[in-house]
């Protein structure tokens, strides 16, 4: 059975969608993460608010406890 952190690990260096609480999210390349918090590092990321891209971030640290889901696009 693939565990969530294994799937996350295999997503390194690929583009992922990260949905956060509060109708926010990111699309970017998964650069790193930590365990057990699931804090993420994304690069070349687009910040999404209410479905619209509002900013580009070269690098961003996203705290795990706001994350609803992480998905390859």
């Amino acid at each position: 059975m693939p565990k969530p952190l294994e799937v996350l690990h295999r997503s390194l260096n690929t583009r992922v969608i990260v949905e956060l609480r509060g109708n926010r999210g990111y699309r970017g390349i998964l650069d790193g993460y930590d365990v057990p918090h699931m804090n993420l590092v994304l690069r070349d990321a687009e910040e999404i608010i209410n479905g619209e891209a509002v900013a580009k971030r070269e690098k961003v640290i996203v705290r795990g406890d706001n994350i609803i889901y992480i998905s390859p696009p």
Copy 2:
């Protein structure tokens, strides 16, 4: 007595409904999970917002702390 994690384990490779906080949810095949966080991996998943399917995700990692319930459909 069937424990929640045993029931979750027996649901592997079957289609489940995952209801999240904020009127969101997923329908998809349960691919994996972890203990004790109950983070899930779903595949062939439909994202549901306010009762409507809004996106398809080949694979998605859902953080356990947003989950309200998990049910076979």
Copy 3:
């Protein structure tokens, strides 16, 4: 003195009302639970939103941290 988990244990295989945050709930037969999270397994369950039954679930895993109270009906 009857402890909460003892009362929960004695409710196994009986019909219970589970009230969740967000005006949601379940009526169903308590099939199992775990300690200390108080995650539940219900069977033959009705999902209740704002007081109305909206769906039937043969089996459902309810995460304990959304539960407000559990009561025999």
Copy 4:
């Protein structure tokens, strides 16, 4: 100095008011509790929503983390 759990213990078998988050509450006889979660068992309980009694429960398990305060009436 009377500690909160001592006061709770002395309230066993007396009628208490339990105020919960979300303008909900219970009036009932305190039958049991656990430590450290402060989950409660009430019997002969009235459920109160927005100040009005909406249901009677012979027995109810209330999760401690929704409790704002507990008081003898």
Copy 5:
């Protein structure tokens, strides 16, 4: 330096204001507390909602995790 729990201890048997989340609060005599939760016991307490006294409580156990601040009046 006076630590928060020392200041709380010195407030025993004096009248305090306890502000809770959700525009609620209490004014009453601090009878006891516990560590580390900062659950309180108040006596001769007035319950305040939106700035108005709505009820008197001879004794009340207030859960610490709803407390915003505690102050002598």
Copy 6:
């Protein structure tokens, strides 16, 4: 690198702004704190709601988990 708790320690006996969740805050002299909760003791404090000073408190214990930030004014 100055750690947050070192900066907090150096702020003892100076006037600080404490911003809390829910558009609340305090301006007062930092009298004490604890670790790791970051509960604070303020003296000669003004309570601020929606940007307006609504009350003066000679002494107040502020629970750390409601704090957004602490700043010298």
Copy 7:
């Protein structure tokens, strides 16, 4: 793989954007942080509410549990 805390460490003494819950944020120079809470010290910081700079803070301690993300601008 760059871990979130390594990326945070490399951001010391650079200008970062810190997005907080509740449509708040800061732009400032990262002066310090702690582990595991990810509390931050910022200097020469601008406080942002709903996208507008509302105040300047020479130094500010930001509690980690309100942080959504941290990004170099």
